[in-house]
Amino acid sequence: MTAVRAVLFVPEMLVVLALPPLLMSVIAKTKAWFGGRVGPPWLQPYFDLHKLIQKNAVYSKTTTWIFRAGPIISLAALLTAATLIPVLSNDSLLGFSGDIILLAYLLALGRMFTVLAAMDTGSSFEGMGASREVTFGAMSEPALFLAFVVMAVATKSLQLSEMIGPKLLPEWQIAGPAMILVVGALLVVLLTEACRVPVDDPATHLELTMIHEVMVLDHSGPEFAFITYGAALKFTLLGSILVHAAIPHPEGFNVLSPPLRVLELGGLAVLVGAIESAMARFRLNRVPMLIAGATVLSAIAVVLVLMRRTV
């Protein structure tokens, strides 16, 4: 890593950390536009975070330290993951060969503590949300990992920043259909993991229909701010994996590349907003079908890529 890159990482990480609430705002604006409304101000998510940070947290008497640790550990796990995933440039801060394994465990760790914190409240609602979260999380993982297999085979690398980097460019020419399938699968995984429509509806306040939101009902104050920020960060990170896989930028440092990535992420947020406006949430028993479909897409992509490799 050259010194220039080392210096450049500082502003890059700052942008990455500042970006997520803005993307949430883009989604909200898109939905408002589809609904013919003006929508909240662009900086509303930042105001919300600011407001929450200043409040005091309220804890139920039945909760233990796990409840307090949950949001912090989840956010910490996601922040660590942010160092492994390339967002604005083709490089990640701490990438190393095999880091997708660590990434998987970090995501799982974050989820585990959110779930534990939800169960710690002893509320049946939160327990139900936790159960759904774990179910769908477990189902979407094969889809994500089969997609990683495709890219690992295509680029012959196990380092995330290389797998979704410039080496993927020729793959789009050799096995275009397979890559389209991978992108489709990643989109479904993104919608599932980030708890968006059609899997989950972050906007409703009916506990029976929610998955993620129902788990965090009891959190308040700064901890709720961590959770909100963490959800946005998760969207940004998974979204940038999707964007990098879909539109690989050529090798080398390019001044235009980072702004372009920001625009692409914005485009993705618009797309998600459009999906939320156009579709209704699936019935809960249809969701496994959707995720299974994503797994099947990834599996077929694996077959296609393997076939082209060895011919």
Binding site: G176, P177, I180, A292, G293, V296, L297, I300, V303, M307
Partner: protein, 219 residues
């Protein structure tokens, strides 16, 4: 460019198989079939374009025949038969929807594995042709055996036929137009008769469930 267009069509056709296995609404299923047939009907021209600048009349005749029959006429007949009945959904097939999608995916993977072991003696338009054909064929068979409604069984048969159509692309130059048209004509008459029979089944049993057809068995 053309190559990846052909590849994309084939992959999309395979995915539409899974979509058909996943849908419970029969009308949607029929439309998916029509879409799949439309995509596949484009292939003779696309394959023809690879060889020469202008594909032969042969390719156009087949495309026109396939579009006319499998995209318009047959779906129209099936939708018409469907409209006469009250039931529009496939309820409780022998194999559940998620399970049949998974089974379909297994079939697809197996077809690719199988196709690798059967090297073609000549150069094919694309190496996806054989596996996609086999996968479509067996997905059609899966639909045929796992569904209860007569209409879905007819659709399964048509999907089998689509799989064979894909395989026939390998032999585009070899098969006389007469034979291709004969195949299409037979297909049409077959589906027409099936449509009539489905109509009679519905009238006879007030249903389109083929599991009501179990009077004949060994005593």
């Amino acid at each position: 460019m053309l190559q990846s267009a052909i590849d994309s069509i084939l992959v999309l056709a395979v995915l539409l198989n899974l979509a058909m296995l996943a849908t419970s609404r029969m009308a949607a299923c029929i439309r998916t079939f029509a879409l799949q047939s439309l995509l596949l009907a484009l292939l003779p021209i696309a394959v023809g374009l690879r060889h020469e600048t202008i594909p032969g009349a042969h390719a156009f005749v087949i495309t026109a025949g396939a579009v006319g029959l499998k995209v318009f006429l047959i779906p129209w007949i099936l939708l018409r038969v469907l409209r006469t009945g009250e039931i529009h959904r496939e309820i409780e097939p022998f194999i559940g929807f998620t399970a049949s999608v998974m089974l379909g995916a297994v079939i697809i993977v197996a077809s690719f594995a199988f196709a690798k072991r059967m090297p073609l003696p000549t150069e094919a338009p694309t190496d996806l042709l054989v596996p996609v054909s086999i996968a479509t064929l067996f997905n059609g068979l899966l639909m045929l055996v796992s569904r209860l409604k007569a209409i879905t069984q007819v659709l399964g048969y048509l999907v089998v036929e689509n799989g064979i159509f894909v395989f026939g692309l390998l032999l585009l130059e070899q098969t006389p137009v007469l034979v291709e048209l004969g195949i299409l004509l037979d297909l049409f008459v077959g589906v027409f008769i099936m449509g009539i029979i489905v109509y009679h089944i519905r009238r006879e049993f007030d249903h389109m469930d083929t599991h009501l057809l179990d009077a004949l068995r060994e005593s």
